[in-house]
């Protein structure tokens, strides 16, 4: 198969415009002369002074950022590590770990059998409850593999593999289940180093990817961004990973963080947005909470104007690893337990009713 991308990038320099075009334009507009005379008029000092000012400002920003990180990073990283599974978000410290997390978590959402992840939600009625108590349990089910992965003892592991399909890099990512097993996802991608850019007093460091994600036999175009920006000592970052399921349909996961004024603690959450034909169909927030030293995962799903909120924690029942959940689904308070049996999630509700739903597709699943 022809590697079109390679052909294009290899010959890019032969087609891009020559640098002399810019000089010609500046000369024609009289700009080159203006710049030169400005520098000469100040004996070359003004330009130098500006450069020095910029360098000093940049150094000050870096020093402040380094000091800030030295003081607060251990606090941020330490948070959540005391829990049962260890906060997986604390392991996301660089572009590679972020993209691995993006691939695993979005892959998990795309791998639920019979659902594309961007398809319409199916409402489920429980015979024991009246019609008004229809729940969004199938929507919740799509997030179960992710919940498992985030509450399991095992870290989300990534292994570098050779690039393929026209992409220079590759990685396989393993998302563990709470009772072993789990699922693997493959990401092939190209890195786009944006380098660092200093413009006025703004410093940017950017690095993005584009590629494909292979999850449960499906292949999805993906793109990601891991960008940090600091301006006047204030740090900002833009971290996202997107997997496309159609022209204007995709799942987007991005990191959001919030630091209260005067508070050393930064709250990190991951927001998953499902777009269908350019419109937001579902928005889900995932964040860790710590209750008496135990780590819990809070899932808030917004869909069609309804907000479902569930707090999950991993428990042991007669030696079996299970998930217990409590919260609100479809406006009703719920409490249920989830057992992983026979490649399915077996939901058992407080009233004794139960339902089975498919787990993610994975041939290597060995926890039956």
């Amino acid at each position: 198969m022809k590697d079109v991308k390679k052909l294009l990038t290899e010959q890019a320099n032969a087609v891009l415009p020559d640098k002399k075009v810019k000089q010609n334009i500046m000369r024609e507009l009289g700009m080159e002369q203006a710049e030169r005379s400005l520098a000469y008029a100040h004996g070359g000092e003004k330009a130098e002074k500006n450069k020095k000012t910029l360098l000093i400002a940049a150094a000050a920003v870096f020093a402040a950022a380094a000091l800030f990180l030295a003081i607060f990073l251990p606090v941020f990283l330490g948070r959540g590590k005391t829990g049962v599974g260890g906060g997986k978000f604390a392991d996301i410290t660089d572009a590679d770990s972020f993209y691995a997390y993006g691939a695993a978590s979005v892959g998990a959402l795309l791998s639920v059998p019979g659902e594309s992840g961007a398809s319409g939600v199916k409402l489920l009625s429980f015979a024991q409850k009246d019609a008004a108590q229809e729940t969004h349990i199938e929507t919740v089910n799509r997030y179960m593999a992710l919940v498992e992965g985030l509450l399991s003892e095992e870290s989300i592991s990534e292994t570098a593999i050779a690039g393929a399909d026209g992409y220079d890099f590759g990685m396989t990512v393993h998302l563990s289940g709470i009772s072993g097993g789990g699922a693997d996802y493959t990401l092939y991608y190209n890195k786009i180093f944006r380098g660092s850019e200093t413009d006025e007093d703004e410093t940017q460091e950017s690095y993005s990817i584009e590629g494909i994600l292979i999850a449960a036999g499906g292949q999805y175009s993906v793109e990601g961004n891991y960008e940090t920006e600091s301006e006047r000592g204030e740090a900002e970052s833009e971290l996202y990973f997107k997997a496309y399921t159609g022209e204007n349909s995709y799942i987007d996961v991005r990191q959001e963080s919030e630091t209260e004024t005067g508070d050393a603690e930064t709250e990190i959450e991951y927001v998953y947005t499902v777009y269908e034909n350019g419109s937001v169909a579902e928005r889900t927030t995932v964040e860790y909470e710590s209750e008496e030293g135990e780590l819990e995962l809070l899932l808030s799903i917004n869909r069609e104007g309804v907000r479902d909120t569930l707090l999950f924690k991993e428990e042991s029942e007669n030696g079996e690893r299970i998930l217990s959940a409590s919260g609100e689904i479809g406006g009703q308070k719920v409490r249920f337990r989830v057992y992983i049996r026979g490649g399915q999630y077996h939901y058992v509700f407080e009233d004794g009713s139960s339902e089975d739903h498919d787990r993610y597709e994975d041939d290597d699943d060995d926890d039956d």
Binding site: K2, V15, P17, M31
Partner: protein
């Protein structure tokens, strides 16, 4: 670069701050260049028209309405100048050999075959998106902002353009 920042630089340029030119040029010239190249298929002419485009645009910056997408405005000037160039040179009919010179590396412009093929088989928007994403090193988000279209459309068209080119190359190889 975000559009707001580009707009700030354009405003500074409008006020006569020549130092803003560098930033404006670096973030817009590739869009304009590929819009021209798609029409003229010749690197040398494309460079000349790019120069003409910037001179004309900067000289008539007063006509640009702030906040209405500077890159799109610049590209419309570029396209218009490229079409004028084509009209002017229409009477010059190349020989068969000259027409296929790019294949043999004997053409003056020396545009690699893959780029000429792209200009022939792709729709204008596909070509522009492919060049900006694959050749110019812009992020899809940036391309979406530049062209004022959703990012999903950028991704889709970029992938479709790659597929079309691959199919065409395989077809030619098989012929």
């Amino acid at each position: 670069m975000k559009n707001e920042k580009l707009e700030r630089m354009v405003a500074r340029l409008k006020e006569g701050d020549a130092r803003a030119f560098d930033c404006v040029y670096e973030h817009t010239h590739k869009s304009a260049y590929f819009a021209i190249l798609y029409i003229v298929h010749d690197k040398m002419y494309a460079e000349d028209i790019l120069q003409e485009t910037f001179v004309k645009a900067i000289s008539s910056l007063a006509q640009y309405t702030a906040g209405t997408n500077f890159t799109a405005w610049l590209c419309s000037i570029a396209r218009s100048l490229a079409l004028n160039h084509l009209k002017k040179h229409r009477r010059e009919v190349p020989t068969d050999f000259e027409e296929e010179a790019y294949k043999f590396g004997t053409g003056e412009a020396h545009i690699p075959y893959i780029f000429d093929l792209a200009a022939r088989v792709l729709a204008e928007d596909e070509y522009e998106i492919l060049m900006l994403c694959q050749i110019s090193g812009y992020k899809r988000r940036e391309v979406a902002e530049m062209l004022g279209i959703p990012i999903g459309t950028v991704t889709w068209k970029n992938n479709e353009a790659l597929k079309k080119l691959r199919r065409q190359l395989e077809k030619e190889d098989g012929a």
